[in-house]
């Protein structure tokens, strides 16, 4: 997946709390990570309508380390356990909402090494925020298909074992919103799909 057109400059996020643990330096915005050839990382890609294959069971994990959520974007299966961990000696809270800001949960996690487990029953994008440290954000994509992935640092993704057929290849990125394009998987061999996004037609 690549970005075309102008590359936006995103402001760094200042660290304004618990500098003793989180460090003083501003955090670069995690919203846009580009490879040299403008490959777009941290985008979610999934196939709509592909049947077969089992949903990964998890457990998935989400860590808060050095006042950052890791990973920044990940795909989790619907109904599968997600273990949230605090590896810092400060209070974090994990405030999960839908993109439309409807509350899912808001849990305090004050103790270093503390974990809790949540499951997500509604497929779609979940926005995570730490209200204590406002620069800390992350995204989950709750998938009800096994054919869902996050693009890697080069902007690449792949789905092994897709049954042949024509599907809609859907993509989501926090700056570009949801897009889709058709893709046909032949009876043998692999299908290749290139997705190009541009800020000029960003939907949100």
């Amino acid at each position: 997946m690549t970005l075309s057109g102008p590359v936006p400059k995103l402001a760094a996020r200042p660290v304004n709390a618990d500098v003793a643990i989180c460090g003083k330096a501003d955090r670069p915005s995690p919203s846009l990570v580009l490879a040299k050839d403008k490959g777009l990382a941290n985008a979610v890609v999934w196939l709509e309508g592909a049947k077969g294959g089992a949903l990964p069971k998890g457990p998935f994990s989400l860590d808060q380390k050095s006042c950052l959520f890791t990973p920044y974007v990940q795909v989790v299966s619907k109904g599968a356990p997600v273990v949230v961990r605090n590896s810092d000696a400060v209070l974090h809270n994990v405030h999960a909402t839908t993109v439309a800001a409807a509350q899912i949960f808001n849990r305090a996690i004050p103790i270093k090494g503390q974990t809790f487990t949540e499951t997500f029953s509604e497929p779609g994008v979940v926005r995570l925020k730490c209200d204590v440290h406002t620069w800390m954000t992350a995204w989950l994509f709750v998938a009800d298909t096994p054919y869902a992935a996050v693009t890697d640092a080069e902007g690449r993704f792949s789905f092994p074992g897709v049954p042949p057929g024509t599907y809609r290849l859907k993509t989501w990125h926090e700056l570009f919103g949801e897009k889709s394009q058709p893709v046909t998987v032949p009876a043998s061999g692999a299908a290749k799909a290139d997705v190009t996004l541009s800020l000029l037609d960003a939907s949100n």
């Binding site: 209070l91 405030h95 509350q103 849990r107 103790i111 809790f116 204590v132």
Partner: protein
């Protein structure tokens, strides 16, 4: 052989033979009449509906039964029995637990009593020893006696102190036993109730089964013609409504409601499906939670149907019951087109198309299906469904708003805010705040030129204004009409400025419009004001249009006036609802600069100023003078008066004529009476008393009203009227939705002919809520705050200005349970910024509420949450252990990371680089502001108190599978073993004596949140009388002493 008839016993004058014939013929004639009558009775409409309902009901129950039998019947019964067994077992178990707990409570009470006695004796002994010691000490301080007395005293004192601890421990155990007993008793009661419900469900199912097994044949026989006079199951269903009456001219008769004769399904659940039961008569009432159902606030047996819906209570015929379609007006309109062959614009219409359109209306379908017609003899037909909420108003007039009747609520808001009540007296809507500004000092605010052009057409200046248009309307058309209008406007303006008090306002400093803009967006102006050229009017749900649209001010007012107004609104107009935002002079200068720079509507700049016409003015003056004088005298007066005098005379008369003083305070009209017709009981006004003029609208109350509200002067069309006779109601430019809402409100204004017991109670908690809602509405609290889940519209403006919603005015939810009433009173009386959320730029303004309003608001919030009001015990002693644990837990949970514990801590956090918006309320004020119980509950479940709050949940609910509520857990107990918490663990074990006890305490969300609460309560609290945090060793020894005793 012919035999002579026997002789008649007495003489008579009639012929038996002839009579026999007459009888025979008559009976032959009567027979078909009888058959016809029976058939007519058998075939009454309502019977058909009842039959259909019975069919539906049987079909539904049979289907339910079949599925039950097929699928789960044996299982269900088995399950029921199993559940019942389990329930009974649980109950037995509970009972024994309860009796154990009772024993335990008795035992611990005994132990406490013993300890208490011991403590008292010890105290007495100690007191004796002290006295002994004191007297000896006084007599001879150095004697051996004194020394031994001192020793005795000290020994007994130690023993007394030990007994204190024993007593406290025993009391704590007794309290604990009582608490666990209460909890168990509740569980037991719940189990009993659950069992009873299970039984009731089962019995109901069995009963239904029984009815269904009744034979069909029996049903048909008892309802067959003629036989149905014995004991039919199809019969007229009626209910007598005690305390509700029909007004039969000079006589009141009791209401007897027969609607469910046809509407049998109304009170039965299970017939909601619109597709399955397309006719509403066969459907369940859509709001059984509010109406009809015996558990609803308006049960059928008390209120029937007609007391809300209107209509004739005892009719069983469709038309005679007073059913009213929604679109009768449109139907009649189409009918007129059909007759005339053209539409309103005179274009020819196609007859077939018009006919088809007529058939498609609800009216058309009713005529076809039910032979519906307007019942001329029914003064009070039903409300059409579009205005059905009018029925609520009859009783709920004294309520401040109608949250469950949206259209009525909107209509009422319009009637209140557009000031209908100012000219038309309406019972229940008196004593509201005046809707128009006070004009007693208008000359110090604006200019005559602006006023004249404003009067010509207020909407040219401000498109969304609530001020209606009085002039240049249809009954003053033409050249002469306009000349007369201009003369009136010039007169009114002259009068207003002549009588106006004079005032001058201090100069305003030079401000910065950009800074003013930021202030306007941040400080809270936008909760009540917009500033948008061309905005549409939104009275309904338009909290941000509570105050005027702030455009074109530079054309209207001077900067000096605006500055003085912002500084102290009540200084200019003592009755204004505009609050004081406590702005500094610099802020005022900036705001004035910004507001004066806001654009104006271009059409106003182009509008022309009207000029008085001499001839028209003379005619008008003469017209008024001749009401009290002869024509000759009047003419002489006119000749003598100067033009200025004439203008003032005209102005005074016209202000009186149009009743301007009803909405505006105007000098010289302090005691004038409103000019409109009283509308308090307009909903009962006979239709024949309404003047429909030459306008084609159906002759119903609703249609007359819609026409009047939309085109107030239209009933003057084609009429020849003198100036005095012409209609005076101004043009409010209502949208069709607004007209429908107003219609609903006004139609609902009916006679309150009901027994006092049925009237809406305006006292107690209900009264407090209504009175509070009145204040909330008048002062537009919901412009800024989300209150009762409504409003908070300022958030829209903040979003548009890209301001973080975390900085929005707080959501008010559970406020009564949350804050202390006396704090709330003091806060509303004199709000100060920066006490709780110093980071907010938006300010709670000073409204200068009077004591009644302050009490009204505090009791309103308390009543909403069923909180104690007004006084409550102040907690001044805290359990030292709980408080100590609280302090430790407060640190462990890192609460202070967001909550500054004092103003100093807040300042420190800012210096450390924290953004104020990331902080949480300062806790030093908690003990003066919050209710003691509430704090613990909030800490336990913030997401239930305030969905979406940034306060995270520390005590989450366990996931115990679907349908189960899930207990809350404390994650602290397991965390205690982590190496990072070795210190905390040591402290807690020190307080509690053993690790198990410490873990049990900290693992119990109830106890640990109470401990946190006790700590929060102690922050900055100088009223506390309890000793400071205890010394751990003393306390750990306490149980040991008990054991030794």
């Amino acid at each position: 052989m012919a035999k002579a008839p026997p002789p008649e016993p007495i003489d008579h004058h009639y012929d038996i033979k002839r009579l026999t014939k007459v009888f025979a013929i008559t009976s032959i004639l009567v027979l078909p009449v009888f058959a016809w009558m029976t058939w007519q009775d058998y075939g009454r409409d309502w019977k058909a509906w009842q039959k259909k309902f019975v069919e539906n009901d049987r079909r539904r129950t049979r289907a339910a039964l079949r599925t039950a039998a097929e699928k789960i019947d044996p299982e269900a019964e088995e399950k029921y029995l199993e559940q019942r067994r389990e329930g009974a077992r649980e109950l037995r178990h509970n009972r024994s637990a309860v009796s154990e707990a009772e024993d335990e409570a008795k035992k611990t009470e005994g132990a406490w009593y013993e300890a208490d006695q011991d403590f008292r004796f010890k105290k007495a002994e100690m007191d004796t020893a002290r006295y002994d010691f004191e007297t000896r000490q006084k007599e001879s301080p150095k004697s051996a006696g004194a020394a031994s007395a001192r020793k005795d005293y000290e020994r007994l004192k130690a023993s007394y102190e030990a007994s204190t601890i024993v007593e406290q421990a025993a009391r704590a155990r007794w309290d604990e036993a009582k608490a666990s007993l209460a909890a168990l008793q509740k569980t037991k009661k719940d189990a009993e109730e659950a069992l009873a419900k299970l039984d009731a469900d089962y019995d109901r199912f069995q009963a239904k089964l029984g009815t269904l097994r009744q034979s069909d044949a029996f049903y048909f026989v008892r309802n067959a013609p003629i036989a149905d006079m014995l004991a039919p199951s199809l019969k007229i269903q009626q209910v007598q409504l005690d305390g509700l009456y029909n007004d039969v001219n000079f006589l009141r008769s009791q209401r007897v409601d027969r609607c469910v004769t046809c509407h049998l399904a109304a009170e039965t659940r299970g017939f909601e499906d619109r597709e399955k039961y397309p006719q509403s008569v066969l459907r369940t009432h859509p709001r059984l939670d509010l109406f009809v159902d015996s558990n609803s606030p308006h049960p059928y047996a008390t209120f029937g149907c007609t007391s809300c819906h209107g209509g004739r209570d005892r009719a069983t015929d469709f038309t005679r019951a007073g059913h009213m379609p929604n679109d009768y007006g449109r139907y009649e309109h189409l009918a007129a087109q059909l007759e005339e062959g053209h539409d309103d614009k005179g274009l020819p219409t196609d007859d077939d198309e018009v006919k088809e359109a007529m058939d498609e209306t609800q009216t058309g379908r009713w005529i076809k299906d039910y032979e519906w017609e307007v019942d001329k003899y029914n003064d009070l037909p039903m409300y059409p469904m579009k205005a059905v909420e009018a029925g609520c108003f009859r009783c709920h007039r004294s309520d401040a708003s109608h949250p469950k009747a949206a259209k009525l609520d909107q209509g009422r808001k319009l009637v209140e805010q557009l000031g209908c009540w100012s000219c038309h007296k309406m019972k229940g809507l008196e004593d509201l705040p005046r809707v128009g500004p006070n004009l007693t000092r208008v000359a110090s605010k604006t200019t005559p030129e602006w006023t004249e052009r404003w009067l010509v057409n207020p909407r040219a200046f401000r498109n969304n204004t609530k001020m209606p248009r009085f002039f240049y309307l249809e009954n003053f058309e033409g050249e002469s009409g306009h000349r007369l209008t201009d003369t009136m406007i010039a007169g009114v303006t002259a009068y207003l400025f002549e009588k106006s008090g004079k005032a001058s306002w201090p100069a305003v400093g030079v401000g910065d419009a950009m800074r003013g803009k930021l202030l306007f967006e941040n400080v809270g102006c936008q909760g009540c004001h917009i500033s948008e050229v061309g905005a549409e009017r939104h009275v309904m749900d338009g909290w941000r249009q509570h105050g005027p649209n702030l455009i074109g001010l530079s054309q209207k007012v001077t900067p000096e006036w605006l500055g003085a107004w912002l500084k102290n609104p009540k200084g200019y107009n003592s009755e204004t609802r505009m609050p004081n935002l406590r702005l500094s002079d610099g802020e005022i200068a900036d705001l004035v600069a910004y507001l004066m720079s806001r654009p104006a509507q271009p059409e106003f700049a182009r509008s022309r100023a009207p000029k008085a016409d001499e001839k028209e003015r003379d005619a008008l003056v003469t017209d008024y003078l001749t009401q009290t004088k002869s024509v000759v005298e009047a003419k002489a007066d006119v000749a003598r008066m100067s033009p200025r005098e004439k203008d003032l005379f005209v102005g005074e008369k016209i202000i009186g004529h149009y009743g301007c003083y009803s909405c505006h305070a105007i000098p010289g009209f302090e005691n004038a009476k409103p000019i409109g017709v009283e509308l308090s009981e307009w909903g009962n006004k006979p239709v024949h008393l309404l003047d429909f003029g030459f306008v084609h609208v159906p002759h119903t109350r609703a249609d007359w009203l819609a026409q009047k509200a939309g085109q107030p002067r239209s009933y003057d069309r084609e009429k020849v009227k003198t100036f005095q006779e012409k209609l005076r109601m101004p043009q409010f430019s209502l949208s069709s939705a607004e007209i429908e809402a107003v219609q609903t409100a006004i139609l609902g204004m009916q006679k309150e002919d009901m027994a006092d017991t049925l009237k809406v109670k305006a006292a107690g908690a209900r009264g407090a809520i209504q009175a509070g809602r009145r204040i909330v509405k008048d002062f537009n609290c919901q412009g800024c705050h989300i209150l009762e889940d409504k409003g908070g519209q300022i958030r829209e403006a903040m979003t548009a200005s890209k301001i973080d919603l975390a900085l929005a005015p707080p959501v008010i939810r559970g406020e009564g349970a949350k804050v202390q009433s006396d704090w709330l009173f003091a806060f509303l009386n004199a709000p100060r910024s920066g006490q709780i959320r110093p980071w907010l730029k938006v300010r709670m303004p000073t409204f200068e509420f009077n004591p009644d309003q302050l009490n009204g608001l505090t009791s309103y919030f308390a009543a909403l949450d069923k909180a104690r009001y007004p006084f409550e015990n102040r907690v001044e002693t805290l359990d030292p252990r709980s408080r100590a644990v609280g302090a430790k837990t407060f640190d462990a949970l890192k609460c202070a990371q967001c909550h500054p514990t004092s103003q100093d801590a807040f300042a420190l956090a800012l210096r450390a680089g924290k953004t104020p918006a990331d902080l949480a309320p300062i806790l030093a004020a908690a003990h003066t502001r919050l209710r003691y119980e509430w704090i613990a509950d909030w800490i336990k479940r913030p997401e239930e108190w305030m969905p979406g709050t940034r306060m995270p949940t520390n005590f989450p609910k366990m996931d115990e599978g679907p349908g189960k509520p899930g207990r809350r857990i404390s994650p602290l107990a397991p965390a205690l073993d982590a190496p990072a918490f070795a210190g905390l663990k040591k402290d807690l074990v020190g307080i509690w004596g053993s690790e198990a006890e410490a873990k049990a305490y900290i693992g119990d969300p109830d106890r640990v949140t109470k401990a946190l609460r006790d700590h929060v309560w102690s922050l900055g609290n100088e009223f506390l009388t309890a000793p400071q945090a205890p010394k751990a060793p003393n306390k750990t020894k306490a149980p040991a002493v008990v054991a030794a005793n």
